[in-house]
Symmetry: C2
Subunit: 327 residues, 2 copies
C-alpha cells in the first residue's frame, strides 16, 4: 500500500501545508481511499496522478471543518467529471445530513449515488481488496481512527480441495481466485473456502484528532504503520492557552514505542511550526521530541509526500515530495 | 479602486485557475470586499497581501458551489485568526441558512458576528466609503450582479455653509469631512449637507453567472468597468451538449460596446480553454472573439491579476500576476 499526504496542517492552511487529507493507494491497481477531506483537497489532487474515478471510499474522522469542508466540492467535481459508480462515505452521521443539505442548497445533482455508512455503527466495511474498521478516539467532538487491512494477501488456490469437490478447472477457478463466490451445479462455492494466504496482511492505522493515542492499542495489533496527529510539542501543549483534544509528538512516540510499532508517521502540525524557522517554532522540534522516545522508523509528513509500505514491512519514500508545476 | 482576481475558472478548479472569487480594494486604505467565495479562496488569499481582518463585506452572486463552497472555511479561519468585528455578508437567503447550519454541524464558534443581508431585498448597502447595489440576472438559479460605487469621491467641506450655520472650526469639521454626522448645541448636523464632490464617483459592476448581459444596462450607467463571465466562445456555446445559463465572449463584448463601457474584463472561463493550447481550445479564442466586437479596453482575467482603476477612468495592471513562492 502507498500513502500520499494531501494536507498536513491543523486548523488552517498555510502556504506549504493544506488542512487534513490523506490518500491510501492499493498495491493491486489504481484504486484508492481518502481519509479526511479538508477544504482544497480536490485542488491538491490536481497535482497528483490520482483520479476521482478510481476513488473507492472516503473516511471522515470527525466533523471539524478542517477535516470535511472539502467534501461537497470534491463530490461535485467528481460528478462534473462524469463519475457514475456509487461512492462509499464512512463518516459521523452529522456529515451525511450536512453533505446532502449542501448539495441540495447549491442545486448540485451528482450523476452517481452516495453510499453513506455511519462510523458510529460501522463494524467493518470491506471490498475484495480492503477491510476498513473504525476505532473511537478522544477529542473535543466524537472522532474515529481508521484501520486499513489487506483483505486477501497473496491468495493461493487450494487445488486439492477444488479437485476433491469436483470444481472443473477453468473460469470458475479464476473467479474464486479473484475473491468472488460462484455457483456450480446448484451449489454455492465460497471463495474464502478455496483460498489460503501466504503471509500476514498489511495493516495501516490512521488516527484522527486524538489526545489519547493508547486508544489505538488494539487497532495497532498486527499493524506495520501508524499515522497520527502530533499537533504540538510538549512545551507548547503545556501552555494553557492552547486547544485541548490533541496529542504531542512525545505522547504519540511513547505509545508507538510501547506497542512496538515498526513505522510511525506524524502529521497535522500546528501552523506555528515552520520549516527553517528562525526564532519561531521549528518543525524539527517535533521530530526531536518524538525521536528521543521512539526507536522505530519515524517520519514527519509533508504535503505531497508519498510513502510505500512494502510486503516486508519496510516504509520507503516513493518520490520526492514535490508537486508538478502549474500550467 | 483595485481588483484582485482570486479565481477565474468556471465549475471546477484547474491547476492554474481556481473557482470564482474576486477581491475589490478601496483606494482609501486596506479595506476590501470579496465577491464570491469558491472553495479554496482562503488558500488564494494566503498568496496576497490581503488580510481577513480588513475584509468589510462578502457578496455572493448565487448558490452554485463553485461560487460559495469556500465561505465556511474562510469564516472559520477569520475566527481562528482572532477577527472580532462583525462581517457583512450579502447573499441569496439560502446561503445564510446553509452557512449557519455548516458552522453548527462542524461546531465552529466564530468570535465575531455575521451580519447577513438577503440580496433579494437589498436596496443598497453602504458604509462611509462604498455603496453596494445588486441587479437580478438570468441563470439556472437566481443570480445577482453587484455594483460598487465610491460613496464620497474627493469630498470638500462647504466652508461658507459651516460658518453661516455657526459650526465652530475644529474637531466637528473633521468629523463632518470624514462622513460622520455630528451633534452641535442640540442640532443634528448631517455630513452630506456640508460636503460637495469634485468628480463623478468611480463605479465598478461585477456580474454573476448570466446569459443576458443586457440586464446590466442600468447598473452600467456611469460605470467605468464591467467584470463579466464569458464561459464559452460562440462555437462551443452553440454545441448543444453545453450548460445553459452562461454568456459567450461575443455576447458580453457586444453589450459592452452598445452601452459604451470604457473597460471590460472577462472571467469565469470553462476549463477547456487553456493557455498555449495545442490542438485544444485556446484562451486566445475568447479574446479574439470579444475584441472583434468591442473597441474599449479589454482584458481576460487570470488568477492573481491585480488591476487599478484610476480616478481618470484608466484601467492598468498593478503588478505581474504571479503568486509569491511557497514557503
Amino acid at each position: 500500500m502507498d500513502l500520499l499526504f494531501l494536507g498536513t496542517s491543523s486548523g488552517t492552511p498555510t502556504r506549504a501545508r493544506n488542512v487534513t487529507a490523506l490518500a491510501l493507494l492499493e498495491d493491486t491497481g489504481k484504486s484508492w481511499y481518502l481519509i479526511d477531506c479538508g477544504e482544497g483537497t480536490q485542488h491538491r489532487l490536481l497535482r497528483t496522478p490520482l483520479s476521482l474515478h478510481d476513488l473507492r471510499a472516503i473516511c471522515i474522522t470527525h466533523v471539524h471543518g478542517d477535516h470535511c469542508y472539502g467534501l461537497p466540492g470534491l463530490l461535485a467535481s467528481a460528478g462534473m467529471m462524469g463519475r457514475k459508480a456509487a461512492l462509499t462515505i464512512i463518516a459521523p452521521q452529522g456529515i451525511e445530513t450536512w453533505v446532502r443539505a449542501t448539495l441540495e442548497m447549491s442545486q448540485s445533482w451528482l450523476g452517481y449515488d452516495l453510499d453513506f455508512h455511519a462510523v458510529e455503527s460501522l463494524g467493518e466495511w470491506r471490498n475484495l481488496n480492503m477491510r476498513i474498521e473504525a476505532t473511537a478516539l478522544s477529542h473535543r467532538v466524537p472522532c474515529y481512527g481508521y484501520s486499513f487491512t489487506e483483505a486477501r494477501p497473496d491468495p493461493r488456490l487450494d487445488i486439492d480441495r477444488l479437485e476433491r469437490d469436483g470444481v472443473p478447472r477453468g473460469p470458475l477457478w479464476g473467479q474464486l481466485a479473484r475473491g468472488f463466490d460462484v455457483e456450480h451445479e446448484g451449489r454455492k462455492l465460497r471463495s474464502d473456502d478455496y483460498l489460503s494466504f501466504s503471509r500476514a496482511p498489511q495493516r495501516i492505522v490512521i488516527g484522527g484528532d486524538n489526545d489519547r493515542p493508547e486508544l489505538l492499542a488494539d487497532a495497532c495489533r498486527g499493524a506495520q504503520l501508524l499515522v497520527h496527529e502530533a499537533t504540538y510539542t510538549e512545551a507548547v501543549a503545556n501552555d494553557a492557552r492552547n486547544d485541548f483534544g490533541h496529542s504531542t509528538a512525545a505522547s504519540v512516540a511513547r505509545f508507538a514505542q510501547t506497542v512496538g510499532l515498526p513505522n510511525l508517521v506524524l502529521t497535522h502540525f500546528s501552523a506555528r511550526y515552520q520549516k527553517n524557522a528562525g526564532r519561531g517554532h521549528s518543525i524539527d522540534d517535533l521530530y526531536a521530541e518524538a525521536s528521543a522516545l521512539y526507536a522505530g522508523k519515524l517520519l514527519l509528513a509533508e504535503d505531497f509526500m508519498r510513502l510505500h509500505l512494502g510486503k516486508d514491512g519496510q516504509l520507503t519514500p516513493v518520490e520526492p515530495p514535490r508537486p508538478r508545476p502549474s500550467r
